[in-house]
């Protein structure tokens, strides 16, 4: 079935054009248009966010605000350099040119790497809908979703302090591969090396990206080392359900979560033995 393509030029016009499942918002199209191509979704119209003024990156008050329709490729810039690892592990160049930061929040696991990264950054979302605008912590978004005809318009977070950011995505193949496990973390230590603040988010362990309260609790007040990081990973492996998909079984994800937690937090490469 053919579908109409609306290209509204403002956020308000986008909201006005949305109509439940009949007329759906499409940002980069890497999820929504694929679903239409595959005969899994049959909207009468799509409402493109491309021209609605929802792309762009701004800084104010030490916070970064990224428009929801900003393509992933446009996140490659010096003030967001900490995200380079996330970007490099995400899809492939043409997909990064199309997929958007806001759209990625709707990707089903094990996709949706930016959801994992943004959870660790404690991001909040700007949301607009028929009843006005509101802000919602990303963690809440994953629990409640959006109301009918609402869209995410922006993502806001504080950039991590130097040296505190961690990202590791374990994959079956080196590039362009979904997460077996994704670990994003912000970890601050005091002068004695004791962890004074920590946020850890995980992908590959639940139906959506999640924070790991058990891993965070296990690390807070500890010295960051191989033992504490592994222990935090073991706690997380017990706490989160993990799941089985094409890429890995739930058993495997639980089994290697402590390894990847340690590698993510410590960043230590392995020795190669002859």
């Amino acid at each position: 079935m053919a579908f109409a393509v609306h290209r509204p030029e403002s956020m308000e016009a986008v909201i006005a054009a949305l109509d439940g499942t009949a007329s759906v918002a499409v940002s980069g199209g890497t999820l929504a248009i694929r679903a239409i191509n595959e005969g899994k979704s049959f909207p009468l119209a799509i409402v493109s966010l491309r021209r609605a003024g929802l792309a762009g990156i701004a800084q104010d008050d030490g916070m970064i605000e990224i428009g929801a329709a900003t393509p992933i490729a446009e996140l490659v810039r010096p003030d967001l350099a900490f995200l380079d690892g996330v970007i490099a592990s995400f899809g492939a160049p043409a997909v990064r040119n199309m997929a958007t930061l806001g759209g990625n929040l709707f990707a089903p696991q094990p996709y949706g790497d930016f959801g994992v990264a943004l959870l660790a950054l404690d991001a909040s979302l700007a949301i607009a809908g028929p009843s006005g605008k509101r802000r919602l912590p990303l963690s809440k978004f994953y629990e409640t979703g959006l109301a009918s005809n609402e869209i995410v318009t922006g993502i806001r977070f504080a950039p991590p302090a130097p040296g505190t950011w961690r990202w590791l995505k374990a994959t079956r193949r080196a590039l362009n591969s979904a997460a077996v496990i994704a670990v994003a973390a912000i970890i601050e230590t005091d002068r004695s090396g004791t962890i004074s603040a920590v946020r850890i988010a995980l992908g590959g362990v639940d139906s959506h990206p999640v924070r790991s309260p058990v891993a965070e609790a296990g690390l807070l007040g500890q010295v960051l080392d191989s033992a504490s990081a592994t222990k935090a990973g073991e706690a997380a492996a017990t706490f989160h359900p993990c799941f089985t998909d094409t890429y890995a079984s739930a058993w495997y994800r639980r089994r290697v979560l402590p390894v990847f937690m340690r590698r993510a937090l410590l960043g230590t490469p392995l020795e190669t033995m002859p």
């Binding site: 079935m1 053919a2 239409i36 191509n37 595959e38 005969g39 899994k40 049959f42």
Partner: protein, 454 residues
Amino acid sequence: MARILEDVFTAERAGSFQAIGRALPRIDAHSHVTGATRYYADRIFPNLLHAVMARSEHHHALIRHVDLSAAQAVKGVARILTHKDVPNNWYTILKLIGLGPDEEPVLAEDRVLYRGEPIVAILADTEAAAREAAAKVKVEYEELPAVLDVETAILPGTPAIKPHGSNVFVYEGRDHFHVHCGDTEAAFREADHIFEHSYQSSPIEHAPVETTGAIAVPEPGGRYTLHSNTQAAFFTLDNAALILGLPFRQLRVVGGTVGGGFGGKVDVIVEPIAVLGAMLTGRPVKYSFSRGEEMQVSSPRAAERIRIKDGVAADGRIIARDVRILVDAGAYSRHSPYGTIKAAAHMPGPYTVPNVTINAWCVYTNRTPSSAMRGFGVTIGDFALEVQMDRIARELGRDPFELRLQNAYRDGDLKAHRKTVEGAALVEVIQAAAERIGHPLSPECRAMSSCQRT
């Protein structure tokens, strides 16, 4: 570029050539890099209809009722094909050389034997409309227990999923294909070591970047041209005509330029539906697999389960090899009965073993029918054989190159299926590979030759 070793088989290689042996550039490469190469789907026809299948959601079920009303109501749907529209609703690929039986319907009738089995074909003005209509076909099923494991399938007492009453292909009255030479049991008793291990694979997809497809175009005079990416033009013509009850002369297959095959485009699955659609609508019809269909309902290389039992003498000679092969054909035969014979013919590998027993079953299960794929019947057998050889070498403390050289077949040896070996070269490729990595071989092994046993 890979070097040709000119000092091996020098006398046999002799000859002077002008065109042979030249690294002539591919004559299609220029059109590949400019995008000018024309594959079947690059022929554009106005008024084209797109065919999309509504497929079984269950591994094994009876079809109680098919409701097409919602599908028919989708704008752009021109026609829906059911099994009643197919003149001879049997897909039996080797029928013209007398191999049967008729067992796979082109479109499902009263039952489905695998998830993804085609039930009805939607013909619509756009692919999107056809997909939407296919999603709106309502099928009422009565689910039946599915048999998904080959070992279970051949156990006595397991319900037969096939109309002929068993879950194996029958080779001239036998439930499996058998090869033997010598006396394996006696040799096992004489052997100093017994090695018995099992190997397993799972189905593998061809995954060509161009999915399987065809366009059927009505021509003046009641003929139909099939623009197809088939790997076998006449195979396709003959089988499509048989299914459609068309005189062979009314079909013409045009193709020959294919975006990767690997065996996946040997089965004649899309063409009969495309031609039938063209016959019933008078319009060109395209039927090509979606990527998801290519991955899950186009026939893969069969999963195989292979058990090898070897009797080995103290000096490393393999004196007996008993191989049991279970080929998971999935729901229908296609090329699997042949692939099973090919698997049996390949054993005991490129080694001369005096006492061999091979038993190979072509087993039906409720999964996507498997069929031809690059090396089917051999690739997984080689995995089993060569891991087994590694095990033997390690257990006996033997160099893995030398154990293979010792057992390698030579010209004049008799294979298990009683064909005399000629043109052997296993010894030489092992010697060459060893040299390539600087792996030392004993003087005896360096002196070995495929031309005679020393």
